[in-house]
Amino acid sequence: MILRGLWERRTLALVVLLIAVVPIASAAVAPIYSAGALTTIVRDAIREAPVEGRGWRYTTSGGTIEPKVAGFTAGAGFTDPPVFGMEVSSGSADQDDRRAYTVVWQDGQCEHLEPARGRCPAAAGEVMASEASGLETGDVVRLRSLRSARPGSATLETAPLEVVGVYRPGDPADPFWFGRTLFDPQGQPSQNKADALFTARETRSVTYYVGSGLGEQAWTDYALIRVNPDRLTGTDLPLLAEMQALAEATGRTTDAIVFSRMADTLRTMDANAGTLGVPALLVAAQLVGLGWLLLFQTVGDLVRARGPEIALARLRGHGRVRVWRFALAEPLLLLLLAVPLGLAAGFAAASLMIGALLPAGVPTTFPPAAVAAGLAATLGGVLAATASAWRVATRPVTEEWRRTPRRSARGWALDAVVLAVTALGLTELLAAGVITDASGESAGAMAVPGLMALGVALLASRVLPVASGWLFGLTRRRGGLGPFLALRQVARGPVTAGSVIVLGTAFGLATFAVAAWTATSDDYARVAAFHNGAPTAITVQPVEPGELAAAVEAADPGGALAAPVIKMPGTPQLVVSDPDRLARVAHWDPELAGGKDLAGAMAALPSPDAARVWVRGERFRLRLAHSELTENWAAQVKAAFRITGRVGPVSITMGELRGAGGAYEWNLPLPCRQVPCELRRIHADLNALGSVEGGAFVEVRVESMEVLRDGAWQPVPAPAWRVDQDPSRTDGSFGVSDTGMQVLRPATYEQEPAGIVVGEVGAKAVPGLDNAFAYRVRPAVTAAAAPGITGAGVLMDLEQADRIAYGVDEKAQFQVWTRQSGTAALEAALAREGLTVVSTVRAADLEAGYAAEGPGLALMLLLVSALAAAVLALGRTVLALHTAARRRGYELAALEAAGAKAPALRLSLLLEQAITVVTGTLAGLVAGLVAAEAALGRIPQFAEPVVTPPLPHEVAAAPVALVTGAALAATLLCALLVSELLLRGVRVERLRDTPA
């Protein structure tokens, strides 16, 4: 009987099924997609973590290590097979060799060692030494604590370790060696510690550790356990955290030591996961709410459509529970069918979204939360069916057969609750200002768009019948029969309220989603453009700043395509570049810089033109003239150089002042023999010799400079001089006193260089390329945003910055910015100039990255699902209007029989439907735009708050107009078709039937 009934009402049943499937699918998409997004987050966190943050180094000195590691990794399918190893450390048996040695065996070591000479050790007692150790094949190394016994001898002697191969020190960052420093990071010989000696596993079994000296360590076993990002999923996060907790506990409770920076990685994962979870949950909740609304209306329609049957059941004396069950049977069966279909549809949709929006290889899983969300969405239908069935089962049965069903007044309780909650959420949103935490504290505020859509729709549903009733009064006298009938019907409002609520809410959410999507996409593009600096940023291996500039000059002689850039993190940040080139490639917005365009701004960053003092050779000589030094005082003259490849000044003492002047010379630092060093300052240190009376003062003047190179002294051109403490001194003189030392500097840079200042920099010193925070900048241009700057920061001339700095700190990031999107030719040209390209990031990549963060993912979910829900709401409304109008077929037939013309009836039907759907759509539009105005800028768009550039949150009118226009066009077309269909069904013959 149930199936027959469903077939009898197949159109409505199909609509109910469809309307039930979509919210279930929408609700299920969120957890499935979130699971994929979480997988992306944890994988990215692992990939971007330093080597130590990608796994654990489990070390133990007692017992067998394999079972311990097996216990540690139990259940973790995301780790690679552990790499086992062992090591022992000892000093050399050679008294002259003070270096500490570490003898290491690690499974698979030979595949990771680059042999320079010889071979990899294969037998006990064989080792492979580092090229930096000075050892050669055939050498024998003896370590103090590593002993062995000759065959037949009971005496332990230092074990001979024969060098059978020499390797080139590998990359310390190679994950294979993680957790230990086996090679000198600089690849240079060390006085205290030799690079590791790699041996065969068997060496351990033929040697004995007998030492206990400081810094020595007996054989220990270790295992390297690495997380494989390709096998890691979001659901592994708790287990990963458990493993880290176990690792930390193991170090406290056992002899094992577990080294890892996984805790940092986990913190990153948790932070990013937090920004995803709440927005996604809120989107799902809003969609489930909307789905409930749709289901409430549609399932109610289905139950009401069975009203005559239910009335018959009551007429035949069926008990109330039986009647209720009878009324529930069909909708519940449909909902039951909708659950698997909806979940399957959700899985398919989420798979498509994951494939399209997330990195390749992210699996689509089906988390239990998806089922829960699907069931939660279904619950709305179940409640609707239960409530409708109960209402039909308990209302006076004779109502079913009345010609004019009595209207039941709609209560205000639900409206009041929704409006109160909306007001609370809105207040919270407006009072809280910008929500910087996307992880849940302001969940109520983030739900405001959905609540506002519902609230405005509820108000519109109240206003429309009242307004129609008022207009209906006017049409009594003029306007014709069509508007009269239409307005009367709308004012009666049997379908009006429900349709306006559903349409208004769905279109409200859809409008908000589209508005938010356009505004957020624009914000993403804007942030990406500024943060990347230019359309494409090519990161290269650090070189000297001058080399970077020269390479870019050579790769792009015209200067129109590329600009060299060095970025220094810090507070404030520093970005330096060639202003002329930057003006042609960087992103800029004059509105954010007081109307100044990029070329004008760059022109405010002049490059220095004074020559720098470069010296190259063995010795440096200063010819000085100075006044007589006060008695019992001595002054040592010093010269400081900037040496290529080193951060910080290297100072040499030229000698103690004597007499009235003369030549003072000293060896230049060793590297200056190979590459030019830059003279950065000359000053003197004053020392008291015994007891002194009164102060000391001496005035020194540099008369000339020479450098000894290839056995001959060569003059060094005198630069323009500057003394910071006394700007009047420009002749190469400086004063030395016990109250203050003056420093003589070549005037090669501005003391307070010009910069484009972004944000709250104030009087703070900028980091400089050497990260010394040694100078401030003069704000030449103040801007709200500048290329490459993500917070408070300064953009300045590269040459200036290079001249000021003593080297380049390792934190500096070297980039070449270009406005090209295809960078292969430029990269090749840079490579030809000796630059090593590390990575290439396009602004579009950054933009896509923002879209893949939690808020972006949640917004995408909202957009897709809200649009689908809006289409469904439209379909449901048209169906409801059609059903309601069909019920009035008798009335329409009577009107026709009484002489009403078909055009008037057509107009009446069309107007009735158009008024309802247009009101619902426009209410949605208003609600969506108001919600966008209130929420955008307050609801997080980024996982990390963006400091600069300022975000305009501009809603693009075209997409919103397109959606609204399409919705209105579709609704009016549907209204037109439905009116025509209904009109054709109106026949005077129907009057022979008693009205149903």
């Binding site: 027959r4 049957e309 018959l312 007429l315 069926h318 109330r320 039986r322 049965v397």
Partner: protein, 270 residues
């Protein structure tokens, strides 16, 4: 014991802010096995009285006994049980009585669900109303006459002691209508069923044993054995039948003259 006893029944509908008195002080007794035609103009309260007798409405005032049971003392469950086991109803418009997509037998069986499934009775009933050969044809596809006969079979599904029918012949041709009336009478005779039929059809009223005319919510007249009688109401009110309105039009004044077995009304001109 009477099958139906109405004692001062008042029924008031509340439509928005207006109260409509559908029945006022209706006193009516119907004995078991009687066949009664409820007559009266549209809006007089016939259908309301029928719904009251079906236990679908509870009277606003007065008391109603059905087959000896005081309806006012029954809870909803008791009322449902009473309706299921002892009352059969045929609604106006035959299609309303049926589930259109079910075949005839299932429609009858549906009515039996609340009491006891009796397939033999289903077959007997269908045979009695001449629908034994309709097979699995859905009720919605039957002719009006067939539907009305099936509706009667459905109403008789649980061997009710009281059969209520609202305009059972209104949409039927004369032949079909007569057949339906015959079936009602046959059921009353064969099973002792009391039948109350709301009708405008003089043919139906003539075919039944008694007529009760409702006017303005009151029992205005009764007819037995071909003769109509006015009914003196609780307050002594008597409704002058419309056919005498030209002699004593509404609003006119009359003098009451006592005679041996009653009173005589004579119009006076004040």
């Amino acid at each position: 014991m009477s099958m139906v006893r109405c004692d001062g029944i008042v029924q008031i509908y509340r439509a928005q802010d207006v109260e409509v008195v559908a029945l006022r002080d209706v006193d009516l007794v119907i004995d078991p096995g009687e066949t009664v035609a409820l007559l009266g103009p549209s809006g007089a309260g016939k259908s309301t009285l029928l719904w009251l007798l079906a236990g679908l409405l509870r009277p606003s005032a007065g008391r109603l006994w059905l087959d000896g049971t005081d309806v006012g003392r029954l809870d909803q469950r008791g009322l449902d049980r009473l309706r299921a086991s002892r009352i059969g109803v045929v609604l106006q418009n035959p299609s309303r009585n049926l589930i259109g997509y079910l075949p005839a037998a299932q429609n009858v069986a549906f009515a039996q669900r609340a009491v006891k499934r009796d397939r033999r009775r289903v077959r007997d009933l269908l045979a009695r109303v001449g629908l034994e050969d309709v097979g699995d044809r859905p009720a919605g596809g039957m002719s009006g006459g067939e539907q009305q006969r099936l509706a009667l079979a459905v109403a008789l599904a649980n061997s009710p002691r009281l059969l209520l029918a609202d305009e059972p012949t209104s949409q039927l041709d004369a032949g079909s209508g007569q057949r339906v009336i015959d079936l009602i009478k046959e059921s009353a005779e064969a099973e002792g069923t009391t039948a109350v039929v709301v009708t405008h059809d003089p043919g139906v009223s003539e075919a039944l044993g008694r007529t009760v005319t409702i006017r303005d919510g009151r029992v205005g007249a009764e007819g037995r054995h071909g003769e109509d009688f006015v009914v003196v109401g609780r307050e002594g009110a008597v409704q002058v039948p419309p056919e005498y309105h030209h002699l004593l039009p509404p609003g006119s004044m009359a003098r009451i003259e006592a005679v041996e077995d009653g009173v005589v009304l004579r119009r006076v001109e004040p």
